[in-house]
Symmetry: D5
Amino acid sequence: MKREDLSEKILDIKRDRGWTWKYIAGEIGGMSEILVVGALLGQMKLVKPLAQKAARLFGLSETEEKMLNEIPHRGAPMPPTDPLIYRFYEMVMVNGPAFKALIEEEFGDGIMFAIDFDIEIAREPNPKGDRVKLTMLGKFLPYKYYGNEPDVPAYGFKE
Amino acid sequence: MKREDLSEKILDIKRDRGWTWKYIAGEIGGMSEILVVGALLGQMKLVKPLAQKAARLFGLSETEEKMLNEIPHRGAPMPPTDPLIYRFYEMVMVNGPAFKALIEEEFGDGIMFAIDFDIEIAREPNPKGDRVKLTMLGKFLPYKYYGNEPDVPAYGFKE
Amino acid sequence: MKREDLSEKILDIKRDRGWTWKYIAGEIGGMSEILVVGALLGQMKLVKPLAQKAARLFGLSETEEKMLNEIPHRGAPMPPTDPLIYRFYEMVMVNGPAFKALIEEEFGDGIMFAIDFDIEIAREPNPKGDRVKLTMLGKFLPYKYYGNEPDVPAYGFKE
Amino acid sequence: MKREDLSEKILDIKRDRGWTWKYIAGEIGGMSEILVVGALLGQMKLVKPLAQKAARLFGLSETEEKMLNEIPHRGAPMPPTDPLIYRFYEMVMVNGPAFKALIEEEFGDGIMFAIDFDIEIAREPNPKGDRVKLTMLGKFLPYKYYGNEPDVPAYGFKE
Amino acid sequence: MKREDLSEKILDIKRDRGWTWKYIAGEIGGMSEILVVGALLGQMKLVKPLAQKAARLFGLSETEEKMLNEIPHRGAPMPPTDPLIYRFYEMVMVNGPAFKALIEEEFGDGIMFAIDFDIEIAREPNPKGDRVKLTMLGKFLPYKYYGNEPDVPAYGFKE
Amino acid sequence: MKREDLSEKILDIKRDRGWTWKYIAGEIGGMSEILVVGALLGQMKLVKPLAQKAARLFGLSETEEKMLNEIPHRGAPMPPTDPLIYRFYEMVMVNGPAFKALIEEEFGDGIMFAIDFDIEIAREPNPKGDRVKLTMLGKFLPYKYYGNEPDVPAYGFKE
Amino acid sequence: MKREDLSEKILDIKRDRGWTWKYIAGEIGGMSEILVVGALLGQMKLVKPLAQKAARLFGLSETEEKMLNEIPHRGAPMPPTDPLIYRFYEMVMVNGPAFKALIEEEFGDGIMFAIDFDIEIAREPNPKGDRVKLTMLGKFLPYKYYGNEPDVPAYGFKE
Amino acid sequence: MKREDLSEKILDIKRDRGWTWKYIAGEIGGMSEILVVGALLGQMKLVKPLAQKAARLFGLSETEEKMLNEIPHRGAPMPPTDPLIYRFYEMVMVNGPAFKALIEEEFGDGIMFAIDFDIEIAREPNPKGDRVKLTMLGKFLPYKYYGNEPDVPAYGFKE
Amino acid sequence: MKREDLSEKILDIKRDRGWTWKYIAGEIGGMSEILVVGALLGQMKLVKPLAQKAARLFGLSETEEKMLNEIPHRGAPMPPTDPLIYRFYEMVMVNGPAFKALIEEEFGDGIMFAIDFDIEIAREPNPKGDRVKLTMLGKFLPYKYYGNEPDVPAYGFKE
Amino acid sequence: MKREDLSEKILDIKRDRGWTWKYIAGEIGGMSEILVVGALLGQMKLVKPLAQKAARLFGLSETEEKMLNEIPHRGAPMPPTDPLIYRFYEMVMVNGPAFKALIEEEFGDGIMFAIDFDIEIAREPNPKGDRVKLTMLGKFLPYKYYGNEPDVPAYGFKE
């Protein structure tokens, strides 16, 4: 069995029952909606208690429940062809250089951690048309300059 | 003269004077730091009063000032090879399907507008290591289903 | 069930019954023909009343009707290998720079909205050979320069 | 001398004099604005009288005037990274299959001619925000089925 | 049913009966051999009377006969990996620039029509080894310079 | 010095003097026009006497004359973006499978030789618009099945 | 039936019976081992008597025997990911320019024929570790310079 | 000035003086040799005191010293064509799936940190030929499952 | 049967029984864990006694056992989309130039052998978060400069 | 200075003096012609005494002589567009699977060494047209199965 077959089965059940993602994420609970939906679509793992709830909700077999608890091979095809996803891709393509310049100036050499971070989507009512508010919160991880600080022994080229 | 030559000149001046982006954006003012830096790196336009301030700050010629006010040919090479920018790319690659599922459920068919939106980066102090907080606020733009609403005449195939 | 399997089923029925797209779009009605055909080919969603008409026309199951009402993962493979579609691709490749120059000069910084727009195809009789007339009508969406207008607060880099 | 160097020179002059494309196309005249701008950007040729007018306007040398009259090596890099041009690319990617289905049904096997066609861009005032109207008018070119019609002798495999 | 499944079925029948393409094209008749074979391989359509003959020859169902009469989604994967097809690809890659220079000089700005043209393959006996003679005959299609000729009104940018 | 710089120099001279390719090929003579033009564009070599004539015609240095006699690194970028060249590419993409089927049936396993072949372009007057006639004549090169014929010793795996 | 399904079937039988390629090539005989194995893996054709032997050895049906006698669509995916095959690819990537320089100097303008050539692999015992000896023997095929030799009439551009 | 020009200048000086990387890294000191060499090749930054030492060693200008202290746009072209670097690429291509399986089983969901890690290369003498020993030491960074632990509030979809 | 189907079957059994890779590698034993897991995932071969143990452990058929002993077609798709594997890819992309500079200086012209080397993964406890330690040990393979050493006869170009 | 500039300079001198590669390789001597030519084209290093001879022959500066002694960043662009080099690429593409099958059966799991091997090109006179004989001789490098042999300790996953 492949993870994508499990995702397709879950989508079939969701369609038949007329459930929303909101309802599903509410039933499974305990975690950001984006992460729960990501797991059901095959991009994240569900920790055991949540995998169990998901299995009960969708009437999955024990094997399928175990698969939801496995870490999947992540990553969708790029560049995205779907317009909604492409807009995020474009946002990175256009603003990437400025992100790099400002984050490095503020935090130093390193990266914003794309793995251990949380994402929240919220609707912001606005008389001229509601807005989508997307907040990402990631730990900053600095490059270490080994050998350049007292507690970090430098590695050399030893024979 | 090409826009990238102008960006390189600006980076040379910034390096020589030892200026920070914060200082530069503060001097030019009036707009989100990301947009100002993006314009100096060749991805955005500066409106006339800001282009003037930038020209005065960097001692640019009149032609260079006009170029900063032009809309550039946007977009950096993809996929990004730089680790900091790649993390954002990866975030879209892994979470794109969940973004699509949740935004469409909440807002209907359409897209979050990647052009008319604002971006804010903030440092969030944290005892376990400070965090980068990135907030994007974009208008939701729905697909129109022409002919399906009283005020939108359907287009047909007319001979 | 995947959307492409549903499209293939619809094409099989269309072929067997000898229906034209014109007939099908007429039966489903209420929307631009291009959008109706796009939905049946898996690139658009049909709003509920139209999905219902389509389901009745093609004798689809309730699940299949729901799927037609879902927003698909849009986008066909590029570059197009089919000559008819390639001609449109080429038109963008050759005229893209001029579109950008003229639209930006007329409208300012922004984009023509490729999502909320309508498309009409019409036959224009001509003694030297009929012509295809393709009309696209899209809202212009300007870049906002936040912080540069009284009602748009600028975002900064806050610590 | 390369065509792209000539385009850059023309852009430099346009920037210095503060001319608009509208003004330039008006001075050169006699042809669709998109085609004139396309020629100055290196994607089209200017017929001799227009090349002469362009040379006089920009103060070009005789050699540069001749180059404007040459047919350039057409085509910009794809996929486009600039958001404005990408929207047209996306429009083809999403609607291509429906274009093919409807045009072939209406006209038979063939293609809409992407070379011998005209393009017009117009602003359509609209209280909810002006719209861009793009009209393309192209001759339909049918596939010939040689040997299948009295006046078209079939080709065979002759030894 | 997909067009490629139909092609595979036709190849299976051809193999079992030991037929040659020459024989098959002779039975179906009325058109260039290359076009008939192209249609059976899924790159061309057969007009109705020929589709009927092909169906009778191969014992196809009515639905399969209709599919042969449909215009397929054309285009094989590129670059070709098969040496025989690659040689034609290489011929375009190496001689393309000279084709462009000579055809444009002789005919003016435009293209040789790759759709409405005929192709003939013939064996040319030669004591040093027979030769393949490939003849292509295509209509030349000139670019139109709208607005530059009395009967072609120029399109402008109208507000 | 690079071959492409020499080609650019030749194009500059051709433009300044107002020469046609026909005139140039006539002056250099002795070989197919396509091959002469191909050599001047950097895709073919000119044999010594022709290189000498070309050098005299264009007033080239001795070194440049020698370079014209060198075999260049052949091949233009693919896929072609220029519409005229793309049509030939498309012709291979759509008809490649039929070429393979018919040529192999007629000649057996092998390839049409894309190197040792000649190409002729001719204008065919036609009341409905002149036509371009492109004739390619190539030797057929069969695969050898070593060890399967008396005079071809089979190679084995010898230890 | 597809050629790759036949190859998979042959590999299944080879595995079950525990045969080596050496044994199989010996049973089919009459041709270089590389070509026989290439044919069973779907990259070459087997001439009729060998196809018959192969069919008897593997217990294939008459249709499968015919398929082995067909010329396949050649070419494996590139670049190769398998380390053993990649080494040959790398050898071409690194030594290609020197091959070109030396072969052209020795033989003149043309190519080594990659189709009508033989390949032999042999083990060369060596106290420091045995060596693989790969010998390729290919006919040299010169470019013809038509019109430049008495017996080769030049092609021109005829109207 | 671009970083790659600075790297080229440094390589020129190194060549002229006949210095080894070992000597250079020893003079600059204080950090792993790989990181120092990486910085001089344009992939890492040198912290200020090291940039100063490097500037003194190579006789760089103040601006060049500042550039060495900047964080470069990291990443060399992929896939690597150089055999030495390709072997590491291949090692990831072949062993990547096993790395993923074993590291995730041992550490849970997360990644080995490719930024904050150290690398050491050592020569390991061996009678059968010395060996290269490459040691990488990276912190493991776990995925956080927000909302699933008492101190991590879950993000929801708030309106 | 394909190797990837066998890998999927093994993963299904592992999931159902709740086995860890550690347990599996312990049962099969005798080799580095990475190589055993790599073989089960289809990237390595298991030598016969280990293939037998694996077959007994997973209850495989005799044919499946033989397949595990076959050398697979190695190599996973690149670039990796999964974050954990990508980090190794990035490590090569960023540090590749420095690896090349230092290894070549220390060992001379050649490569670290990516095939005959061993890999060890170890957990290194650390109060600030455990670390992953990856050690690679590869033989250095020097380029031979044939003809330049007494015992290596130079190859020439012999006629 | 870049290696490619040095190669261009060497080609300029070779052209001016009318030298052949054979003459040049004879003057520099002591190594296979392919390797000498490869070094001058920027794909190999020349050991010191040969670099000295080359420098004297071409009248190079001391710095240029040192550069010839450096190991270059190897690898030409792929796939090759030049027909002569493409034939070798095609040979790998078509015969790669058979190479793998036969070499692995004869030698076991491993690779033929593409770095430490020699290549010889020879002309083989033949009444039907001379032939190019290319011989490659490479050491076979087996995969080691660590832990599976008494003298190779297995690596485990140690905590």
